[in-house]
Symmetry: C3
Subunit: 325 residues, 3 copies
C-alpha cells in the first residue's frame, strides 16, 4: 500500500508543505516511524519529538508546521486528519462481511445486510441486527435486543442480560423481578470487550446513536444514554439513570441509579456521582495517590474532619471575643 | 395473556379498589403504561405520576390508595406485589429446559433434572449442576464447581478459574501456587454477566443459598458469603474474606482480603473496606463528585490535612495561653 | 498420592523436625487439614491455629518451628515451600496438552508445541502462541496477538480488541481511529478471567515476561508493562501508560493514561493514580469505610476543605497580631 502525500492531502482536505509527490508506505508514531512513513503531532507537548523523528512526513497544525522544515500535511485538526490517514492505509484490509458457522443464531433473529458475526457468538430470539453490524467472537446477545446499523460489538460483551431486580421478602430472601424489557442500541455505536448492558425490567434500556462505550463497562436496566456520549473503561451506571447527549465520562466512574445528567457533562476519572447533574460542565471527585506514609496521616485526619471543622468554629468565636474586649 | 384484577388480587393476596372484573393485558411503568395495563408505585416520590398515567389499574400501598380514584390493587408491599404480577404475565413465556448442542459438557459432569445450558457454554470435569439450574450462553464453569438447584448463571460469567496466588521468589519472579480447591454455590443463587468467582487455593470458595450477585463482580479465592446476601455491579471481594448473611453491598465497592464482615451489614456504593466489620449497620466511604474547580481546591487541601490538623492544635494551645493570662 | 516428609524436604530444600518417614496424603489449611495431611503457617498472625490443628505435619519458619512440638518441614520461606508442596501433590493431575475440537483457530495462526486451547476459544488471524501456552475455554484472541511460551490465559479474557480511540468531529460525533497495532505478551505470563488487553493504535501493547494479571482487569492500547509486575483484580490502566518492572498494583486501582511509573512501585488498593511516579516506593489513596453517619458528616466537610484551610490561615494571622501587641 503506497499513497502519495498529494493523495492524502486530497482525501483529508489538508494543505501540503514540501514534496507532494512523496510516496508513503504507512503511518506510525514519531518514535517508531521508519523512512517512508507519515506521522503526526496532535498534542503540542510531544512536538520536541519532531527534532528526532525520521518519519518522511508529519501531520501538523498550521502553527507547528511553521517551524518544521520537513514534509508536512497541514490541517487545523491533526488528530482527525491522522485518523483519516490511518483509514486510507488500513481500511482496505477490512474483511468482507461473513457469519461464522460456529455462531449460534436463533431462527427468529433478523439479520441485516453485510452483517459480520464472529465465531461462537450467540444471537437470541427476536434479536434485530441492522445493516453492516459487526459482532466479534464470543459475544452474547440476549433475546429481543435491537442493534442499529454500523454498530460494532467486541468480544465478551453481553447485551440484554437480566437487570438486577429483586424484591425483599419477609423472611429476608429475595424475590426475582422478571426482567421483561429489552435493550435498544442506536446506529454507529461501539461497545467494548466484556462490557455488559442489561435489559430493562419493563420497557427498554436505550443507547443513543453514535455512543462509544469502552471495555468492562456495566450499564444497568432502564438506563438511557443520549446520542454521541462516550464512556471510558470500567465505568458503572446503575439502573434507571438518564444521561444526556455529548457527555464524556472517563474511566472507573460510578454513577448511582435513578439520576438525570444533562447534555454536555464531562465527568473525570474514578468519580462517584450520587446526585443528578443539571448544568453542563466538568465534574470530579477522588483523591490522587500520594506517598503511603503521607496518605496514612491525611486519611486518618479525614475521619476527624467534622471535629476539625467544629474546633475551627470555636477558635473563630473565641478570637472574636478577644477582639471585642 | 389477559388476567383480571380479581385474579391478580387472589394470586398476590391483595385487596381491590374499583372494578375487580377489569381485564388486564400487561404490566408497565406509570409513564409507559397504555390502556389495559396495570402499573405500580413502590416509591412514594413517584406518586405524582398517578395524576397523568393512563394505566387501567395501579398497585398501591393502602395509604396511597386512599387518595387514588382509579382501580387499584392494594398491598402493604407494592414492590413485591408488582414482582408477582410481572411473573403472572410473563412466567409462562419461560422456555422449557434444554441443553444446546453447542454446549461442551465434560463426561464426568453431573447434570440435574430440567437443567438449561445455553449455546457455547463450557462445563468442566466433575462439575455438579443441581435441578433446574439455568446456565445462559458463553458461560465457563471450571472443573469441580458445584451449583445448587434453581440457580441462574448469566453469559460471560466464569466460575472456578484459578485464584490469584503467587509466592515471590528470590529473583523477584512469581511462583504459581496451584489452586486445587473449588467453588461451591448454594441454591437459588443468581450470578450476573461477566462475573468471576475464583476457585479456592485449598478447600472451597463458598456462596450461600439465595445470594444475588450482579454483573462484573469479582470474588476471590476462599471467600465465603452467607445466605441471602446481595451484591451490586462492579464490586470486588479479595481472597479469604468472609461475609455474613443478609448483607447488602452496593456497586463499585472494594473489600480487602482476609476480613470478616458480620450479618446484616449494608455497604454503600464505591466504598473501600479495609477493616473487618463486627457490628451490623450501614458503612460508607467515598466523596461525591463536585464541580471540577471546586473539587481541585478541596482535593489539594486533602494532601495538607495532617498539617491543617496540627495547625489547629497549635492555635488551640496558643488561645488557651492567652485566656490564662 | 502419598509423599513422605523426607521426600518433601528433599524437593523443597527444607529441614525436618520429627518423623521424616511420615506418609502424607495431601495439603490443606490448618483448620481444614485432616490426619495425614500437611499444612503451613506463612503469616505469624495465624500461629495460634497450631494449637488446634490436627495436621500431621506443618511447614514452618525456623522461629515458629522452635515452639512447635509436632512434625515440621522447616524453611526460611514457608509460603514458597507450601507452593512447592502443593505442586508435588497436584501437578501430576495436569492434563496433557490438547486443542478442543470446538476451538476456532484461524489458518494463519501459529501454534507452538504442547499448547492447550479450551472449548469455544477463538484464535484470530496471524496469532502466534508459544510452546506450552494454556488457553482456557471461551477466550477471544484477536488477530496478530503474540503470546510467549508457558503463558496461561483464563476464560472470558479478550486479548487484542480495539483500543478506545476516537477523534471528535465538528458535529460532535466521533470518528473511529482504526486500531492497527497488536498485543505482544511475554513468557510465563498469567492473565485472569474476563481481563481485557487492547491492541495498540499503532505499534504494540506490551506485557513483559513473568507478569501476573488477575481477573476483570483492563489494559488500554499502547500500555507497556515491565517484567514480573503483578496486578490484582479490577485494576484499570488507561492508554499509553508505561509501568516498570517488579511493580505490585493492588485491586480496584485506576491508573490514568500517558503516565510513566518506574520499577519497584507498590500501589495499594483502590488508589487513583493521575501523575507519573518517578521514585520506587509505596503509593496510596482512598478513604476507608466508616459508619455511615460519621462518614456523612466528614464527607460534607470535604466539600468545605478549602474554606476551612483559609479560615485557619486567617486565625493564624490574627493570633500573630495579638501576640505582637
Amino acid at each position: 500500500m503506497i499513497i502519495s502525500l498529494d493523495k492524502l492531502a486530497e482525501v483529508t482536505k489538508s494543505t501540503i508543505k514540501g514534496d507532494g509527490s512523496l510516496q508513503l508506505t504507512g503511518v506510525a508514531s514519531l518514535e517508531n516511524a521508519i523512512e517512508g512513513e507519515i506521522s503526526f503531532v496532535s498534542n503540542p507537548k510531544y512536538k520536541t519529538l519532531l527534532n528526532t523523528t525520521i518519519a518522511s512526513a508529519v501531520i501538523l497544525s498550521p502553527s507547528l508546521a511553521e517551524d518544521y522544515a520537513g514534509n508536512a500535511l497541514i490541517n487545523d485538526d491533526p488528530y482527525l486528519t491522522f485518523a483519516k490517514v490511518v483509514r486510507e492505509f488500513h481500511a482496505v484490509e477490512k474483511q468482507s462481511a461473513s457469519i461464522h458457522p460456529s455462531a449460534v443464531i436463533a431462527d427468529t433473529a433478523e439479520i441485516g445486510k453485510l452483517v459480520t458475526i464472529g465465531a461462537n457468538s450467540v444471537i437470541g430470539e427476536g434479536v434485530v441486527l441492522g445493516d453492516n453490524v459487526h459482532i466479534y467472537p464470543n459475544v452474547s446477545i440476549y433475546s429481543d435486543t435491537k442493534i442499529g446499523a454500523n454498530s460494532i460489538i467486541h468480544s465478551g460483551a453481553v447485551i440484554g442480560a437480566d437487570g438486577f431486580g429483586f424484591a425483599p421478602q419477609k423472611d429476608k430472601s429475595w424475590y426475582k423481578i422478571l426482567q421483561v424489557g429489552n435493550v435498544v442500541i442506536g446506529e454507529d455505536v461501539e461497545i467494548g470487550a466484556s462490557t455488559t448492558i442489561d435489559r430493562a425490567a419493563l420497557g427498554s434500556t436505550i443507547i443513543g446513536n453514535g455512543v462509544k462505550i469502552d471495555n468492562q463497562i456495566q450499564i444497568g436496566h432502564n438506563v438511557k444514554i443520549g446520542d454521541h456520549s462516550i464512556f471510558a473503561a470500567g465505568t458503572l451506571i446503575a439502573g434507571s439513570t438518564t444521561i444526556g447527549k455529548y457527555c464524556q465520562v472517563a474511566g472507573a466512574v460510578a454513577i448511582a441509579g435513578h439520576l438525570t445528567i444533562v447534555d454536555n457533562v464531562i465527568i473525570t476519572g474514578k468519580s462517584m456521582v450520587i446526585k443528578s447533574i443539571s448544568k453542563a460542565g466538568v465534574y470530579s471527585s477522588g483523591i490522587a495517590a500520594d506517598e503511603n506514609k503521607k496518605w496514612r496521616r491525611n486519611a486518618i485526619r479525614f475521619s476527624q474532619l467534622d471535629d476539625m471543622a467544629k474546633t475551627i468554629k470555636k477558635l473563630e468565636t473565641k478570637l472574636k471575643q478577644f477582639e471585642e474586649k
